[in-house]
Structure formats: C-alpha cells, structure tokens
C-alpha cells in the first residue's frame, strides 16, 4: 500500500507538470494494477487524498474532508464490486456443474437407433439450453415390434431434465411386450401423476410398429399429432389421438389408432420445439414442415430429420427457443 501510495503520487505529479496524454495512459495502466491487487475504490480515493495533500501542503483542511466524504460514499461501491466478483466466480462454478449434468443426462438418455426389418429410422434431438426436456426412446421387441416414444416436459433446462429422468425410469420398468400404446401411456401417467409438482406436466406420443403386418399403432398423451405421409397419394395426414397430458389426473383413458405403412410412407413424431417455431415475423405455418419433409421424401429417414432440423434452425437464426426433437420412421 505504501508502495502504491508513492507510485500514485509520482504519477500525479508528472501529470501536473506536463498535462499530457502519455501520463494519462500510464494512469490507465496503473488502474489495472489496482484491480489486480483488489484495491477497493475507497482505498483509491484515500490514496488520491494523501497524494493531493502531500503535493499541495498549503491546501485547506476542508479539501481533505471532502475526500473523506467521498471515501464514505465509496464503501458501498467497493462492496458491490466485490460481490460482483464473487457472483461471477459462482456463475463459473454453476456453469461447470451444468456441463457435468448435461453429460450425465446424455449418457442416461442415450437413444439407440434400432434395426427393424423394412423400417428406416432417423431422429434429431437438440436441447435449447444445456439440458433437454425432450425425450426420445426406441425399443425393439424381438424383431417383431418396434416402439418409439417422444415426450416433452413443460419448460426447459434443469427442472425439465430432472423430470425427464423420471420418465426414463418409468419406461424402463414397463414390459412393453405385453403392452399396447394406450396401456403404456396409462401406466406412465400413473407414475407421473404420483410424483410431480402441480404445474409440471408432460406430453408423450407413443407408437408401435408391427413388422409382420406393417401396422403403426399409436396413442397420444396431449402431444402434438404426428405427421403421416402417404406416398401413393403424395399427401400428409395428422395422426391425432385423444388423450390427456401425463400427470394431470390419476386415471386416464387413451385413444388408440392405427395406420398401415406402405413402401415410401413415413411417420414423423415431433415436439412443439419443431411445430411451434416463432420467428421475428410471428409463428411459422405448420405447412412448412410438410413442405420441407416433402422436399426430401426420397432420402433416408436420418437425412430427412437432419434436413428438417437444419432448415428450421436456420429460420430462427440458429437460436433454438425450445428443445427440438423429431423422429422419422419410413417404410422401405
């Protein structure tokens, strides 16, 4: 501190001699030293006061007093600065924790693309923030059945991600060989209803493809309807099924519907991060999704999913506002 005091006074004296820009530049460099050594603003004022009183011993005492007044005022500034520094450090810690959590989540969710005769499967699932509240799940049942689930937890970030882990364990506990889509949703609903907060809810679309008869059977718990493309008529149809969101009511019945997949037909299941895209000019018309998928209908399911994601991300300037998940199942 004594050292700084001397240096500061010399600097000030030099400046007073020449009133030049060079010494002001030195002063700026010098202020870095203050910050590095965590010198509080009130100490800086105190240094200045002592320097001024040393350089001009003839100054009236009132000048020193005005500096004391300023010192009093600076105490809070100093505190605010130190709090700010400590908050920045805390933010870094949180950021690191978040990264670890995101990795854990990725491992946990790790969806694997199954191999089913006659069906080409592709998907994209991207989080808007570090952690995702979307969930995608595939399971094979003895090469005879394939099941796919796409779920969306309300909200984003950590709370949604935590909630999603629960869904994952719920799904793992179900013996899907025995269950049809409406049954699966009924069971998951009971699990969610028992364990979530009142304003937390989840939508889920659940489908099952039967390799033998090429039927796609589906049920929805308050989820966006899937899109079905019929290659023969070159037209799209919404696969809607009545059903309440998961976690709102204990006992819920889910409607179950079926569609037959012919060669070239595909089903796209999406979350609202895909269908509810908002740009500066308002909402995108949902027809754009059909149009984009139609453009690449002859490519592989994965290429289609990638294309849809790329195009829609571009429309939002690559800033996702919501978690984005699409799963495409295409009949070869």
């Amino acid at each position: 501190m004594m050292d700084l005091q001397k240096q500061y006074q010399e600097l000030l004296e030099k400046y007073l001699e020449n009133l030049d820009e060079k010494n002001l530049y030195f002063a700026q460099q010098f202020s870095r030293k203050f910050i590095e050594q965590e010198i509080a603003p009130e100490d800086v004022v105190s240094l200045h006061k002592d320097a001024v009183m040393n350089i001009f011993p003839e100054l009236r005492n009132e000048v020193a007093t005005t500096h004391d007044f300023l010192i009093e005022m600076m105490i809070h500034y100093g505190l605010a600065l130190r709090e700010h520094q400590s908050l920045i450090k805390k933010r870094e810690e949180l950021h690191m924790e978040m990264e670890v959590a995101a990795n854990v989540q990725e491992k946990l969710m790790n969806a694997t693309r199954p191999n089913v005769d006659g069906l080409d499967i592709g998907y994209v699932s991207e989080a808007a923030k570090a952690m995702s509240g979307d969930y995608i799940y595939f399971a094979e049942h003895g090469r005879k059945n394939l099941s796919v689930a796409v779920a969306d937890v309300i909200g984003k970030g950590i709370p949604a991600a935590l909630c999603m882990s629960m869904i994952k364990f719920g799904m793992d506990s179900i013996d899907e060989n025995e269950s049809v889509p409406s049954e699966v949703l009924k069971i998951i609903n009971r699990i969610v209803e028992k364990s979530v907060d009142n304003s937390m809810f989840i939508s889920m679309y659940y489908g099952m493809y039967n390799v033998e008869n090429q039927h796609f059977t589906y049920a929805s718990a308050g989820h966006e309807p899937a899109l079905f493309y019929c290659a023969k008529t070159k037209s799209f149809e919404q696969l809607d099924a009545k059903g309440l969101l998961l976690g709102v009511k204990r006992e819920v019945e889910y409607e179950e519907c079926q569609v037959h997949l012919h060669s070239g037909d595909f089903v796209a299941i999406m979350t609202d991060g895909v269908t509810e895209i908002r740009t500066e000019d308002g909402f995108l018309d949902s027809a754009i999704i059909e149009q984009l998928l139609f453009e690449v209908r002859d490519q592989s399911a994965q290429q289609m999913a990638d294309y849809l994601f790329k195009q829609l991300a571009q429309l939002q300037n690559f800033r996702l506002h919501d978690d984005f998940t699409v799963a495409i199942m295409k009949k070869r």
């Binding site: 105190s46 105490i75 809070h76 130190r82 908050l87």
Partner: protein, 133 residues
C-alpha cells in the same frame, strides 16, 4: 481489558447515533479514515437491519486489547424473529438484489471476524471484529 458502550435502536435516528458512537470509538482507537468508514458502514448496516426486521435491539461497541493487537468489537443483538435460513442470508446477491443494502456478506467483508448466532422466534446476535493494523 474491555471497555463497552452501547446504543439502543428504536428509530431510524438511532442508526445515526450508533454510527456516531462507532466512529468516535474507531477514531480514538486509532483507525485511519478508510477503516473508520468501513466500521461505520458495518455498524450502519447492522443497526438498520435491527430497525427494519427486529424493530428494536442494541448495538454494543467494545474496545479490544489482545496483547499487542488493538481492535474493536461490534455486537448487534435483538429479540426479533430470527433468521430461518442463515446460509441464504450469507449468500451473495440475496439481499442486494432486493435493494436492501450491503447485506450480511457485505458486513462480513468490511470486518476481520464475523459471527452470526440466530434462533427463530428468539432473536439474532451478530459479532464483528476489526483489528487495527
């Protein structure tokens, strides 16, 4: 050997009286201008917290002579509602975000030693020490 003096806090003006007492003591112990200002600000925050959250309480100042070291102890005590979650109160950004001043972390930064004892429904005692360097 300890010498003590205190100010009872009933109104906002008593916050000023507590500051005055603290400053006079700090000056006579030999603290420099900047440390005087720090001590006074700490007392000010503690007294204001009593006034705002407990209604009434007391700020006590003790001079400390610990061998070669000299210093000052500030004891803020009240029989107010107590602090249910001390960890939260000691967190940065908790009080300041609500515009309530420096808060407890601020007081802690202004002094060398800081201790907080509180029980819900019984009251709060905060002890802060500043040593003369």
């Amino acid at each position: 050997m300890n010498e003590r003096s205190s100010v009872e806090i009933y109104t906002e003006w008593d916050v000023v009286a507590a500051r005055q007492l603290g400053r006079d003591e700090a000056k006579s112990i030999g603290f420099g201008t900047v440390d005087q200002a720090r001590i006074t600000t700490a007392i000010s925050e503690l007294a204001r917290n009593i006034y705002l959250y407990a209604g009434t309480g007391k700020i006590e100042i003790r001079r400390l002579h610990d061998g070669v070291k000299k210093g000052m102890m500030i004891i803020s005590s009240d029989n107010g509602p107590g602090i249910p979650d001390v960890r939260k109160v000691m967190e940065d950004g908790f009080t300041t975000s609500g515009g309530l001043g420096a808060g407890m972390p601020g007081v802690q930064r202004l002094v060398d030693e800081f201790k907080i004892e509180t029980e819900v429904g019984v009251g709060t005692t905060i002890t802060a020490i500043k040593w003369l360097r």
